[in-house]
């Protein structure tokens, strides 16, 4: 563990990413304490400039909603949707990939055709269709994002399992007569995990971008304030009040950047030998 942290620390970008990420996480956790009033509440005169009124440090939008409150509450939705949809996608991807890789044959064929199918479809378009038809809610958004993002995990896990299943320690387990599911869970999957963790981290970033895009298009959950919605709502005011769209965008950019940096650091720390490959 200390070796892991030592390797992670060497990448200063990754450390900076982790710091930003922790900051966003803290804000998200303590959002109800920082801004107990709903971010939808019209609480001040509309279109206050940032830094004009100390009670509303980042100003207000065209309906007098507090921008700072919106940003803080938006962090919750972004992180929540990002992590949960990625978790679902990883579970599905690991399941499908390990079955395909371990059993091979027609099971592999069928599962991989399905994976390719989902990879060919334009992902954002499919997410849009899914959320629109099943009516926008946190559940439908998370499901849609998970449904379009599992294929890379499945392919990755399949490749790992394919190479691991021929290794000696797996052979040994098989000779000892351990049941198949135990071989998969105890012997193979733990060894396939490091690259999956790195991929999952980067997927959270993509999921946050997708959630922002969906709510920008008006497909967000209207019970929760989100960064994408703020940008979409502020669009018509681009000329008069550009900061309304600038700030939530910067929030998304910083969060996604931080996750990508942290993911790269994780990659360096978990796979020290692969460092030079650059990917």
């Amino acid at each position: 563990m200390s070796g892991f942290w030592k390797r992670y620390r060497r990448n200063w970008g990754a450390v900076a990413g982790l710091a930003i990420l922790l900051f966003v996480l803290l804000i998200a956790l303590f959002a109800p304490l920082l801004y107990p009033v709903s971010p939808w509440q019209m609480s001040a005169p509309p279109l206050l400039d940032p830094f004009e009124n100390s009670a509303f440090p980042l100003g207000t939008d065209m309906l007098g909603r507090d921008i700072a409150a919106g940003l803080v509450h938006g962090a919750r939705v972004s992180l929540l949707v990002g992590t949960i949809s990625t978790l679902c996608a990883v579970i599905a991807g690991v399941g499908i990939g390990s079955l395909a890789g371990y059993f091979g044959g027609w099971i592999d064929d069928v599962l991989m055709r399905i994976t390719e199918f989902f990879q060919t479809i334009p992902q954002l378009a499919m997410a849009v269709v899914l959320v629109a038809i099943f009516t926008p809610s946190l559940v439908s958004i998370v499901t849609a994002i998970a449904l379009v993002s599992w294929p890379p995990v499945a392919r990755l896990v399949r490749a790992e399992v394919l190479s691991l299943r021929e290794r000696e320690f797996v052979e040994a387990a098989r000779v000892l007569g351990r049941p198949t599911h135990l071989i998969l869970f105890d012997e193979i999957l733990p060894n396939a995990l490091p690259p999956v963790i790195v991929t999952a981290t980067l997927m959270i970033a993509t999921a946050i971008l997708t959630e922002a895009a969906l709510s920008f298009l008006g497909l967000g959950d209207r019970n929760f304030m989100s960064w994408g919605f703020m940008i979409g709502a502020a669009r018509s005011m681009l000329r008069e009040a550009p900061w309304l769209s600038v700030m939530p965008g910067v929030a998304i950019l910083l969060t996604v950047l931080a996750i990508n940096l942290a993911g790269e650091g994780l990659n360096d720390a978990l796979n020290p030998r692969l460092r030079q490959r650059g990917e």
Partner: protein, 332 residues
């Protein structure tokens, strides 16, 4: 395998995928909460019972499920994607009218992002290769990292803010100047001006993907034996880079670029929405606003078909480019 067999096989596979997407569309309507016909009719406006009845007849909602699916697929084969009640036009007519604009945007973004990405990625790998100007490598990778994390639609808005609102250099909306009625060259120049911002906004994200890929692919080839051989037989660094590294790195990059096309199509939905670009992405957004699900599903199907068609083209192109690919499953 002869070329004809290969081509037939690939086309068959592409058609199969399109049929699967159509079936998925059908399934989505069935799984959606509520009566399929009224879901299709849309919650907001179209409550005209005649229209709902028309939809019932179209999907044969009293028939067994497999018959309904067959009915639906049969109509799609005849290019009947349904009727947009909101616009009082068949869906296929709406899409046909808008498709060229999207194809133009996708093609220009694909070329721009690939050229920029390859150029910068090669430059980054090149300076590492010669062990000079490392700062250039870091600078390029930082740019790639930032654009990779920037939401497409926000980047588009910021470009409008800077280049249209503040500097007034380029038009922010539409594909042509309204009411200008330009002809010939003047019209082409006008469209090109409108194309600049949407193309850049859509390209920069994918550029960053290609930069990383190109750099990684080049660096991987650099470690291979034939590169050392190139030096050993007295070629200069530039020659080795051009003839031995770049050529071998190119193919995996282009392969991946082909796979990325689906994402370009998805990004086009966002970009067209921001720039009011009159393509099918914008049409999808309008369908969302109007809850016109027939249109929404039609656009989804056509977008997917477009992507599959381009994937097919890239697959065929490889056969001519890379003699090593002897078909079996393609380049992956």
């Amino acid at each position: 395998m002869p070329f004809v067999t290969f081509l037939a096989g690939r086309i068959f596979k592409a058609l199969l995928v399109i049929v699967a997407i159509a079936a998925l569309n059908f399934l989505l309507i069935r799984l959606a909460p509520g009566d399929p016909a009224s879901v299709m009719a849309g919650e907001a406006g179209a409550t005209d019972p005649k229209y709902v009845d028309m939809l019932r007849a179209r999907f044969g909602l009293d028939q067994p499920l497999w018959k309904q699916l067959a009915l639906y697929l049969g109509q799609i084969v005849q290019f009947d994607l349904g009727f947009s009640y909101r616009n009082q036009v068949p869906v296929i007519a709406l899409i046909g009218e808008r498709l060229p604009a999207t194809l133009l945007l996708m093609a220009s973004s694909f070329v721009v992002s690939l050229v920029l990405g390859l150029g910068l990625g090669m430059a980054a790998a090149g300076v590492r290769f010669f062990g000079r100007a490392r700062w250039l490598d870091s600078a390029i990778m930082s740019i790639a990292l930032i654009f990779y994390a920037t939401p497409l639609f926000w980047l588009a808005l910021m470009m409008v803010l800077v280049f249209s609102v503040q500097l007034d250099w380029l038009p922010a909306f539409g594909m042509e100047s309204v009411g200008a009625n330009l002809k010939g060259w003047a019209r082409i120049v006008d469209i090109a001006q409108h194309l600049v911002l949407p193309t850049l906004a859509l390209s920069l994200f994918f550029m960053s993907v290609y930069v990383r890929l190109a750099r990684a692919a080049m660096m991987e080839v650099m470690t291979q034996d034939h590169v050392r051989t190139g030096f050993a037989k007295g070629l200069t660094g530039g020659e080795v880079l051009r003839r031995h590294v770049f050529r071998n790195a190119l193919l995996p990059i282009v392969t991946f670029a082909g796979i990325q096309l689906g994402q370009v199509a998805g990004g086009a939905v966002l970009i067209e929405t921001v720039f009011a670009w009159p393509g099918i992405g914008r049409l999808m957004f309008d369908a969302l606003l109007q809850r016109d699900y027939q249109l929404l599903l039609g656009v989804f199907l056509v977008t997917s078909a477009t992507v599959i068609f381009f994937n097919l083209l890239t697959d065929i192109a490889y056969r001519f480019v890379d003699p090593r690919i002897r078909l079996e499953g393609g380049a992956r």
